[in-house]
Amino acid sequence: MMVLIQGSEADKHSQLIDAMHRLRAKVFGDRLGWAVTVVDGRERDKFDDLNPLYALSLDAADRVVGTFRLLQTTGPTMLGEVFSACLPPGLVIRSPIIWESTRFCVDTELARERGERGLSEVTAELLSSLLEIGLYAGLSHIVTVIDVRMERILRRAGCPIERLAEPVKIGDVPTLAILMECSDETVAHLHQRNGLSEGFIRPETIMRLHQAA
């Protein structure tokens, strides 16, 4: 099940938010070796202070199996401040209908508990949710920074991604900025490739987000 949590409401969902920060530490700090700040086993950065929108994929026991974070590009973004080296020269991304997704990750162990296809199922759920949110909010594109390993995973999942520039090394990690188009077609394509019959961002998902606040 997908749950959306507004950054300003993090206190009301402290257990889930805490689990998300631990998952991010495990994935970006331990497994991928990104240059992230981990304190007490939790990864946080300054963009968590800007009231992002968190999307969490929960399993039947309400454990956080995957997550991503969204920010509007009209405000401060990681692509603008941290990863601008990944953009083509002179490109500044600022648009009300282009949002930035960051910290996209899956708990591989929990995902595999679901079965052989668990990992790809959770990945598809997150990707679909990302595009569905974009479609709901009237967006044209989502931009995000990933490493080349994740790029392969997204392509395998049938996610229609486009490179904005060739990968550059950040630390030891070949990193790149990519683009996803939010449209009925791209969502339908993703659903079809992953055998999904319906979306994850339903009216009740939005209802819960706004009523909890």
Partner: protein, 239 residues
């Protein structure tokens, strides 16, 4: 896809904005989209002297006075829930959440505020936030139909108006307005009448990427759509 109204509107709203008539701009939007009212509230705008909110609406003075005197800002979910948010707030999800809020929306209706509404949170680079709200009297069924079109159009129009407000108070962060080489190429082919798909063939990139560059260029040129972006780029001798 943008709505047809949006395209018809482009020239008109720009003229109004150039004459610095914010409320007239909102009234034009309301009329063209068949809305009851439109409202803009800017908070933490980078004004030097005071910290007052910047408010422009098409609401009646009576309703604004009532809202202020009753301190409705303390319960108004558009402010309490929506302003911190990222996703546009559909009033349907909050208007019945407790008796006080239900009464608030009921009373707002008596002052002509539509029962259906969407509020778009806006965020700027320096912590400024704003809320752009539209509302309408249509039925639930009709609302579901028009909502999708409203989303894209008003994301763009809301930010366009916000930019205008910043400009008006002399606080528009000019930022990097220079176009990148790819943005210029895409605009050039758009100016030559090529579709995104045709341009994608010419430049050897995907049409999704072409649309992306055109959108990035549109915002930098402070245009509301591609046609206007091209016109502005020509006027500035960028093309």
């Amino acid at each position: 896809m943008l709505g047809r109204v949006f395209y018809d509107l482009v020239d008109e709203i720009d003229k109004v904005l150039q004459e610095h008539k914010g409320s007239e701009f909102l009234a034009t939007l309301a009329q063209r989209y068949g809305l009851s009212h439109v409202a803009y509230l800017g908070i933490n705008l980078p004004k030097q002297d005071d910290k007052e909110a910047y408010i422009t609406t098409t609401y009646s003075d009576k309703w604004v006075r009532r809202y202020v005197s009753q301190h409705y800002v303390r319960i108004d979910p558009v402010i309490q829930v929506g302003l911190q948010g990222l996703l546009p707030l559909d009033w349907q999800t909050v208007r019945d959440s407790n008796p006080a809020i239900k009464r608030f929306f009921g009373e707002a209706g008596e002052f002509g505020v539509g029962r259906q509404g969407l509020s778009f949170p806006i965020r700027g680079l320096h912590g400024e936030t704003a809320m752009f709200s539209i509302n309408s009297h249509v039925s639930d069924a009709e609302w579901r139909k028009v909502k999708k079109e409203f989303m894209r159009d008003f994301q763009i129009l809301a930010y366009h108006f916000h930019t205008h407000v910043l400009e008006e108070i002399g606080k528009l962060d000019e930022g990097p307005r220079q176009l990148s080489p790819r943005e210029i190429e895409c605009l050039k082919w758009a100016a030559a009448g090529k579709s995104a798909w045709e341009t994608s063939r010419i430049l050897g990139i995907s049409s999704c990427t072409v649309e992306f560059y055109l959108e990035a260029a549109r915002v930098k040129l402070n245009a509301v759509n591609k046609v206007q972006a091209v016109a502005k780029a020509v006027r500035k001798h960028i093309l």
